[in-house]
Assembly symmetry: C2
Amino acid sequence: MSEHVTICEVGPRDGLQMAKGRMPTEVKTRWIAALAAAGLPQIEVGSFVPARVIPQLADTAEIVRRAVLLPGVTIQALAPNLRGAQGAYEAGAHRISIPVSVSLGHSRANLNRTPDEQVAEVGRMVAWLRAQPRHVPVEAACSTAFGCSIDGAVAQSEVVRIAAALAEAGVDDISLADTVGYGNPAMIRATVRAVRAAIGPALKALHLHDTCGVGIANALAGLDEGIRKFDSALAGLGGCPYAPGASGNIVTEDLVFMLESMGFATGVNLDKLLAARAILREGLPDEEMHGNLAKGGIPRTFRKAA
Amino acid sequence: MSEHVTICEVGPRDGLQMAKGRMPTEVKTRWIAALAAAGLPQIEVGSFVPARVIPQLADTAEIVRRAVLLPGVTIQALAPNLRGAQGAYEAGAHRISIPVSVSLGHSRANLNRTPDEQVAEVGRMVAWLRAQPRHVPVEAACSTAFGCSIDGAVAQSEVVRIAAALAEAGVDDISLADTVGYGNPAMIRATVRAVRAAIGPALKALHLHDTCGVGIANALAGLDEGIRKFDSALAGLGGCPYAPGASGNIVTEDLVFMLESMGFATGVNLDKLLAARAILREGLPDEEMHGNLAKGGIPRTFRKAA
């Protein structure tokens, strides 16, 4: 039995929110269905934020209502505050993710709150969700954990402090997010170790961007430290509003290739995953699509030992 | 003092030989000078093969004669046989690299010899070079060490056998080449360990391609195993004649970013390195250029601790 690694596909949220175009709801629905059919165990399908803030995700409630009907996939929605969490719950989301910037500059720009104010908001969200009849797990993401395009370097001690505060607030899982993609493998390893020393197994996932071309190496560094859950996006969709031209999330196809080649089980069918790029292309004809595996195709040696 | 990692820039050889266009000698000369001025310690500037085989490298002898005049950089040329080694020596190359395919199919297609016949040729080349007045170190590359697009999976035992035969033949350094880019970090680690167990410190370098998007993670895996020398190409130039559409070598800019961010010293000035892309673009206007760092620029946190 191979050890399992969970991939949460965040293209429909983190990818689309940065896209120049707007994917029609009907295409989005088909795309998410194709991602689920490829075997992705979790998909983050949108954000519960005002439509004027991220118009690309204005149809999130409708998308969640459709996506939760898909068999065998956990549908996650992002919510930055209590109102968003209530919307996600009411739409039927299986899981909710909450961003909590570690750096003050990013926190103010993205959430209009200080990090500590956002930790307090997370506490209110968890309290409200725990009072509802349906159990909805909460994942809090420590954003800008490996650097910030506004504030620059981020102290590891601050990452540990925010992660510990989030664990204290009662979230189910905590992830570390390289929101602007400034991280490197040594930093990933050191931060994962420091956070785990503080909060133990509540540290579950890494959310990595490929801004500097080392995102997949950062994933390997996390894997080596025992991380068994990663966010990624089909075709490396995404970007950073504070880093013009930067590449997006790590590429799901390439990540699946790496993990499966190394003997981990992801549950993903790589052929079906690559085929889902066509729907993304249909819905966003002008968006740059990344990913090297798609260019040359799956090697003939894939999953075959010598 | 930071530990040093040596990068051998192979764009002018492995990159150009696959290019659709042909870079003029004058631009090539300026490009190599810019790469040297950026601090790259080694540059592989061409191949001594017949011009009809690789017309893009027909000017290799002239390029070597010019490049060896550059201060502070080791100029390497590829030679597949004794005649090529004689040409490289006569042009003044500082180092010679010799490809030796581990897989029979690639060896026949690329060298028109079996692997063992090529090992014997390496022996003749080393003998000839050792008899010359000027000392020219030889690096032999075990090509297709991590898979072959013609033969499929390559047995690790064959990699070890060829590496041991090359060590026996008296080459100075041995590298393992993921010629078609099918490797993964687990395979890199296992093969590096097995080869090192057989030949010890003669195993010096990894030559990696980014066909499946995990080339930089493969470099990290090699780094973790103690490898301190890597081939790479500016803008990830290159490709594989047997894998249409596949990406090229790992990207020098991204590799430098990773290594320097992790505290290793490469001697490379990243700003100057990125600037050298403009000359590449001038010389090959239609070639696809890879590399994420160049898109978003060097992060403000680079080389600055929190």
